[in-house]
Amino acid sequence: MTHTDKLTTADEVRAGVASSAGLSSEQPVAVRARPSVAARTEASARREDSARGRVPLTRRTWFVIVGGSLLPLLLLAIWQAVTALGLVSASQLPSPASVWTAGVDLLQRGLLGQYAAISTQRVLIGFAIGALLGLILGAIVGLSRLADILIAPTLGAIRAVPSLAWIPLLILWLKIGEESKITLIAIGAFFPVYTTVSAALRHVDRQLVEAGRAFGYNGVRLFSTVQLPAVLPSVVSGLRLALAQSWLFLVAAELIASSMGLGFLLIDSQNNGRIDRIILAIILLAVLGKVTDSLVGLFERWVNKRWS
């Protein structure tokens, strides 16, 4: 029997441990909560709140909306103050009111609606084509090792080409029409989808795939039962990236060669020195991009809830 075997009661063990650690067994030791412990109690308090049906402030809808609009309103106020106080000349930065007037003027002439509509249409068509091709090629490359070897390096090289480099070629091939712009946007939308889909498919839980095969699933049925649902969340985040990229490529396309659209408004206003319209176009691009992104974001939330 060893020394520790003889310690039978809990008190004896405690005394033994204390003495071996060089502590007096009578002396109480003050303990301060370590940061990790303190953080844990905070987290547990939050859990307690949610268990009692209290929604924390940062999870309430009204707070999310108000909180998100605070910074834009602040920027607007600073902009107004800077122009009203004459800190910069109106030719450098027009006042918010003059930008608004320029917007109303364009709207009354029917140009603003037309420009926003044609730009949105180009983005949606280009995005749809690019995303679909990205899904198909991403699935092929992600599922087949052979396709990965044959196709992936080429696509990787094409991906490395900057967006503006395509424009001369596309204009020569497809002329200055809708086709060349939509093709450019499709190229922009293709790569985020292709990359996320192929990478996600390569990392689908092998155990789940094997279980699917063991229960008689293969080919298209295995893909639709196991692999596709497993990668859906990644696919949607790829779509979201692709949509953002579509707006980038839209402006690239419209800046170079166009007769309408928000990019045309930008380049046309630059030539005419209409800085109020330039700012208007930038704000419209920001708002449109954010709105479409939020719509996809809502879809993404639903997918994540349903498929994970």
Binding site: L208, R213, A214, F215, G216, T225, P229, A230, W307, S308
Partner: protein, 302 residues
Amino acid sequence: MTSSRLTAGPQGALRAVSNSAKGPEFETTDAALTVSFAGIGRTFPGERGQGRSVLRDISLDVKAGEVLAILGTSGCGKSTLLRIAGGLDSATTGDILIDGRPVTPFDARTAVGFQEPRLLPWRSVADNVALGLVRGTPKTEGAARVANLIDLVGLGAFAGHRPRQISGGMAQRASLARALARNPGVLLLDEPFGALDALTRLKMQDLLLDVHAAAPTTVLLVTHDVDEALQLADRIILLGRKDGEEGSSIAQEIVVPGHRPRDRGSAELAELRGRLLAGLGIDRHGEARGVEKTTAMPTFPY
């Protein structure tokens, strides 16, 4: 003797469903099937062309309806043997026959209960169990069968839950129900209760015995738990490496005496346990006292 603990309800219901689910056009197997291993060996390709031999010369005949436990230390190739039996892996040498015919890749006559539940997280428990149904099962029959199996494994109240909303033991039961859904001729279980806590494991063992009594099928059970093997199996094979040889072969073969369910406190099983543990390289720290080494209990087939 059938299990007296089992109520007639689920037993009869399971039989009825398993009979009606059988159509002439697909290969469901109501009957338990024999499995025969002949000289099975498996070598995995290793570095610099050197193969790593895991299994060698496994020859074994499993009778229809028998419960065979495959016991061994970790890494001895017992899971590999099971995967070969299910067509999830193929043997380097030797032949394996189920019901006299060679095993095909992902053989439809077998069903696998994996070590992990491997449930699809986006499907409900019921939909996950339905995944195991043989393709082409009519919808209403399939739904009835799934509902029966979920009741059998005691998950009736959780059929609509997602896997992440239920406990590990429940998920493992759902996984077992999924394997049973195809009414397999051979049920392959790869340490199905290995990740569960001790009490849940004992309950799951009893559940498996109930299921087996309700719908007798051939069961190959891989485990590292000697008590589990003694409790569940008709026969136990112990895989082990002989000195100076690469690859495991059958080191011991034990026919477990007595009918199931067996007394967990039986002294005779305790003696067998000691022998099996010794075969696994575990010192039993003592000698059996007052226990006869020969057995008077009947052995399988009874």
